[in-house]
């Protein structure tokens, strides 16, 4: 017990040095917690953006559609298929695609018409909430369309502008119609940004003379369910159709997300190493400043093991303090960044990875492991960082130490 009292006294005796050491460790811990949470958030957001924004977790197409898309390769009766998928606990929405031309004034652009059910789409993907300006489609307003970001730029179209579209309907006739721009999307992905022209399913059916069928069904698996577990059920419902997961649809992106952890490890190692040096330095200084003192202790008959324990106990008392302080600042900050994020919009206009937009607000993701790991790491670091000075102190020869300056 005596040794604990000594340790406390030693810490309190040198208030300023103890405070600096504790604060350095607390600061290091806080940084590590926030950093881990941010990195987790980055990976998580990438995956969420990739899937929930537009792609969904699973997509269904008619066989051969993905290899060579054609308005005639349809999924028959998508309404009942979506209903069965919903009964099985999934979120699902069907989409209709056709290519054509949109023009406004003298500007024109090749576009992809995308007929969607406004309500089902809201239920399945985040697309309806991903608007730069204006509003999402409404079944009651069939003349409204929503444009991809770059398409709107090409046509210099703004909300409530009129645009003309032309195409060849599925019966061969000339499809042409005048629409009103209701909304413009934020960056979603290459294809949608450049050529996406969203309209309601009924508007699409009328324009393209396609009374039934659809080209794509997009499915979101509820968060509590694993994709691989859900797949057999989806395949059973969509028998005879082409069922693909988002990883199969965009393998480059899946690869990137899956290897993101590997990417982050060197970054984390570098950060932690820098922090380890800070802690080690503080500990070394604390011991070497007091070599004279330890010499006196040893001269008074304190055994080497007691000196060793004393140094370690001092370090651990300070580490406890630092842990409490670090957690008290790092965890709330990580939580704050989870809700508010860091707005990168001031640095970049919008970015895409493998054709999928990434969010410009960088949010953290707080998890037990991303708090516990830095904490454990701090203790290990302190233990390693103190071991050398502690051994050094224990092995001091009293006479040399007392004469040491």
């Amino acid at each position: 017990m005596k040794i604990w009292r000594m340790a406390f006294r030693n810490i309190l005796r040198m208030k300023r040095r103890s405070l600096i050491t504790t604060l350095a460790m607390a600061f290091a811990l806080g940084i590590m917690i926030v950093y881990s949470c941010l990195m987790d958030g980055l990976v998580h957001d990438m995956e969420k953006n990739a899937t929930m924004l537009e792609m969904g977790h699973v997509q269904i197409h008619a066989p051969g559609y993905l290899e060579s898309p054609s308005i005639y390769k349809r999924i028959e009766d998508p309404e009942s298929l979506v209903a069965s998928l919903q009964n099985a606990g999934f979120h699902a929405s069907y989409r209709l695609f056709a290519s054509g031309l949109a023009a406004r004034g003298n500007a024109s652009a090749g576009v992809q018409f995308r007929g969607v059910d406004p309500t089902l789409e809201s239920d399945t993907t985040r697309l309806p909430h991903h608007l730069l300006e204006g509003k999402w489609l409404d079944e009651k307003e069939p003349k409204n369309v929503v444009l991809g970001k770059r398409l709107a730029q090409t046509l210099s179209a703004k909300v409530s502008d009129e645009i003309v579209v032309v195409s060849q309907a599925s019966d061969g006739s000339i499809a042409n119609e005048l629409y009103i721009v209701a909304g413009i999307l934020k960056s979603v992905g290459e294809i949608v940004d450049r050529s996406g022209l969203f309209m309601t399913v009924s508007a699409f059916r009328e324009l393209m003379v396609m009374p039934e069928g659809s080209h794509e069904i997009v499915i979101a698996v509820p968060p509590e369910q694993e994709l691989q577990d859900a797949l057999p059920a989806i395949k059973k419902i969509a028998q005879g159709l082409d069922v693909k997961t988002w990883e199969q649809l965009n393998p480059a992106l899946a690869e990137m997300i899956n290897s993101a952890d590997a990417f982050l490890i060197p970054l984390i190692v570098i950060t932690y190493m820098a922090i380890a040096i800070v802690i080690l330095n503080a500990m070394l200084m604390a011991v070497f400043e007091r070599i004279h003192e330890y010499g006196v202790m040893k001269a008074l008959g304190v055994g080497p093991f007691s000196v060793f324990r004393l140094v370690l106990i001092e370090a651990f008392i300070m580490t406890h303090g630092a842990a409490i302080l670090g957690l008290a600042t790092g965890v709330p900050l990580a939580f704050y960044l989870e809700t508010h994020g860091i707005d990168l919009g001031i640095f970049a206009q919008g970015a895409t990875i493998s054709g999928v937009a990434i969010d410009l607000v960088w949010r953290s993701l707080v998890s037990v492991s991303s708090i516990l790991m830095p904490l454990i790491f701090l203790y290990i670091l302190v233990l390693l960082g103190t071991m050398y000075p502690a051994i050094k102190a224990a092995r001091l020869k009293p006479v040399d130490a007392i004469h040491h300056h």
Binding site: L101, S108, S170
Partner: protein, 261 residues
Amino acid sequence: MRKLFYKNMVQIWTFVFVIFFIVSLLAPITSQTADPDAHAILKKIDDLWRGTSSKAILTMKVKTIHWERTLTMEAWSQGTDKTLVKVIKPLKERGTATLKVKNEAYNYLPKTDRAIKLTAAMMLGSWMGSHFTNDDLVKESRMSEDYDPSISFSGKREGADIIELTLTPKPEAPVVWGKLIVIVHANDLQPIRITYYDEDMIKAREMTFSDYKLASGRMVPMRMIMRPTDKPKEFTEIIYNELIFDVAIPEGFFSLAQLRH
């Protein structure tokens, strides 16, 4: 010595003979590259439907594996660079029109009351759902401007006297084809068939002509069929129901304002 001279003479004569033989082989090729006949034939095909002006009523039948439809259209032309085509039937598409003035073309859509300018990117798109492209329309009657013709065959083939022209694009010509093979009747130079090859010299499509008739004192094929090679079951057929040359067309007829009428 004499013997040697003799031997040399044989060699010289052999040499001269071989040279002559090679030159005689090359002769037709060199004369082809600047064949005035080939140019004249091509010019005649270009000018077939071209007068000072023309007015026509034509039927266009388009057949694809998914649908089949027939459009009746009215067409006017003036000189080489003014064309206006308007749909009369079916009723749903009545008034849909294409206007071409020089190298600019517009599609007018009555339902939206808008005219859309055809940009470079749309040139390879289908014209009114047919197997003709917008590019065909804009570049009609200018084969002699864009291609160098040469006669590649002349004589009897499939029981008819024909002349076959091979057209290669001029170096700077803005064309999408690798070459064209044009076959005409040898006697009256009426076109029989134009075969289009892509840039890899693979056959892409074929247009055949038939039903040669007199219109305003001119012999013209009244029926044309375009068949894409990669879609053997599809074709577009154009039949002239009426064709009058040298009609009076009012000033300002080929304008965007006219499209609305």
